[in-house]
Amino acid sequence: MRTLIALTAAAALLAGCGTNSSGVTADGKVLIRYQLWDTNQKPVYQMCANRFQQQHPDIRIQIENKNWGDYWSGLARGFISDTAPDVFTDHLGKYPQFAQSEVIEPVQTRGIDMNQYLPGLAKLWRSPNGKQYGFPKDWDTVAVVVNENLLAKAGITMRQLDHATWNPTNGGTFQRIAARLSVDTHGRRGDQPGFDPHNVAVYGLGFDPSGLTYGQTTWAGFAASLGFKLLNKNPWGTHYNYADPRFAATMNWWRTMIHKGFMPSLTTARTLGQSAMFQAGKAALAIDGDWTISTYSATKGIKVGYAPQGSWSMFNGLADGIWVGTKHPKQALQWVRFLASPACQSIVGTQAVVFPAIKSEIPKAVATHDKQHIDVSAFLSYVKARHTVLYPITEKAAQINLIVQPTLEEFLNGNAPAEQVMRNMNTQVNNQLEYTR
């Protein structure tokens, strides 16, 4: 027993070595730790890092992956325990709080052409006092992912789906298509009499309930097509408009789709996950962002297509943040500027995991997708038509999410009247914002 403990203690000491907190590599180079969540993007940014290291032989970039499910809590732990990465992929929904708690550094815009980015992306990263907290490096929109095999079986063409109309009262032709694609366990379709909404084998439309607050992959594009604006101004709005009847009508339609059995319930959707349901052929359509193209298109035995969701989409983008605790702020900034420069964006475009933020590099991404026979025009259509709503940026995003997400979940699960639920929720949200000032 004693030897066992001694051995374990020795192993513990040995294993304890090898931490690198000095920020310098063994051969004396400056070490910049760069963290991101998307495993598909890691090789892309590794290529950027290689090119950056050629230009800056005294700096080494170490790329670290962390799952989205653990990313933000992991960062928070890192900020507190002084082990956060020097540079990390930041999100519009998170950076205002980081800026407010002063855990990220503002970036110098001098010498960077802020007009090279798609219009609107850069200003989202600017705080009300004019500090820039990141350069746009990519952008995303949302589209309908289509199981073309099931579509053909239902006798619907991609063209019909591309031109589908939507309204919150009867769902337009989009709802008719979703109904036709739904099949119950007896083989009856959603538009046939006797369809059983409680025993559905294939849902017409999948559902991703994870981000209901801003509804990026759910209600945002649909409500926007009605002219709905969530904030009085964006970024840095001071008043939310959840009480708008157009929002209530959109959410009501969403609930109707669940009740009719054309869409899975909240519980089913959450436990199974939209992408997994789609890949298993349990959902004929899914609404998801362009960052998932490679996941969906890799599905075995299914021809996957993409169609615009209505005519509007949320328009969001990422940037890289610099942790205030970095030991090498100068080199960290150099890396961040490189990530948002044409040199790296050209690689991002050619690899086409996401769309680059620099206008001139976008065609490269489209060309790559074309080569793989993936038509991504749906994702670009909104930008061309200027039918985009920017990701809502306000203070207190985390607290507001704690009000809105559960309320909307309860709404979708229950039968409460939409107008009243949304009015009450809106009051709470605006009180929360009011409280900060």
């Binding site: 403990i5 192993a11 294993a15 090898g18 931490t19 499910g69 992991g74 325990s81 994870s210």
Partner: protein, 315 residues
């Protein structure tokens, strides 16, 4: 435990039907006891089976809603992924890629180090404290013991932040000392548990040793410890299991790969990208593998633990 039921209880349990039918041959009480035990067995083992079933299923099969008790298309890919033996191409086809490598064997090594250190420290120091509370006389002993027991009522989450600040100031974050420290010296439960056993040891034995010229320390080491082998093993196993399953503290203080324990390493199977569901199959496979060492430990020492429960002071 059917044979420990007294005849009276057995009769009581099966009284009504026995009286009506007058068939003394059928022992209803025993049947009822076995039935209840079987039910408890199923209830406790079924989740474990379901974990194994999920681990052996393909990710695509999980969402089809098939409730069959056996995996529909059994596969070892999830286990391979958990052990880091699957290729990226296989995982992409199965739709179970993750952003982080679970690094199973490093995490396993770390878990063994942490659990062993905590167990060794806790059993040693708690035995000493328990002996002091059971036998030594000093002013305020019982009040101090009461204070000790009161500490059992403090939820661990309350001490998380103060402990974290302390460990951070000591510079022990992301190191084994930092992960082990809060559990190393004692837990009130362990002291209480052992004190009860020590109180049961007859004083005459100790007095005899005292007459022979042994000091307190010698009595403790050469008399009390060997006599309490069974409860010490029980405590060690319980401590080991608790240490193995600890999640919150190692997550907060030791999320660096070189000290990351298994429970924290399982985070590798959280959803990798927003809107993509977690890979349940590999998660369950890794969870199963993480539980195997504990099952082995338990099977090896179960007999001794049962002995400890029946321990009665002097053999």
């Amino acid at each position: 435990m059917a044979n420990t039921l007294s005849p009276a209880t057995a009769e009581l349990a099966g009284a009504a039907p026995a009286r009506v039918r007058e068939k003394p041959g059928i022992r209803w009480g025993r049947i009822a006891a076995w039935a209840v035990m079987g039910l408890i067995l199923v209830v406790s083992l079924f989740p474990f089976w379901w974990m194994l079933r999920t681990a052996l299923s393909t990710n695509a099969d999980l969402v089809t809603g098939n409730q069959s008790l056996l995996p529909v298309h059994p596969t070892l890919l999830n286990l391979k992924q958990a052990l880091g033996l699957a290729s990226a191409k296989e995982l992409a086809a199965a739709g179970t890629q993750t952003s982080v490598d679970v690094n199973f064997f490093v995490a396993l090594r770390n878990s063994i180090i942490v659990a062993t250190l905590i167990t060794a420290g806790q059993v040693t120091f708690c035995a000493m404290a328990a002996y002091a509370f059971a036998r030594l006389r000093f002013p305020g002993r019982d009040k101090l013991f009461f204070l000790f027991l009161t500490a059992m009522m403090i939820p661990p989450i309350f001490t998380l932040i103060p402990n974290f600040v302390l460990i951070k100031n000591l510079g022990w974050l992301n190191s084994f000392p930092g992960i082990v420290a809060p559990f190393f010296l004692m837990t009130p439960f362990a002291v209480f548990f052992l004190r009860q056993f020590f109180l049961g040891i007859s004083k005459e034995v100790e007095e005899a040793a005292l007459l022979d010229g042994a000091g307190r320390w010698k009595i403790f080491r050469q008399l009390i410890i060997p006599m309490s082998a069974a409860p010490l093993v029980t405590l060690a196993v319980l401590t080991y299991i608790t240490a193995w399953q600890e999640y919150m503290w190692p997550l907060v203080t030791g999320d660096s790969e070189h000290v990351r324990v298994l429970t924290v390493a399982l985070n590798a199977f959280k959803s990798s990208t927003p809107t993509i569901a977690p890979p349940w199959g590999p998660l369950m496979a890794a969870t199963f593998l993480a539980a195997v060492p504990l099952i082995v430990l338990f099977l090896a020492l179960a007999k001794r633990m049962v002995d400890a429960i029946g321990f009665s002071g002097i053999k």
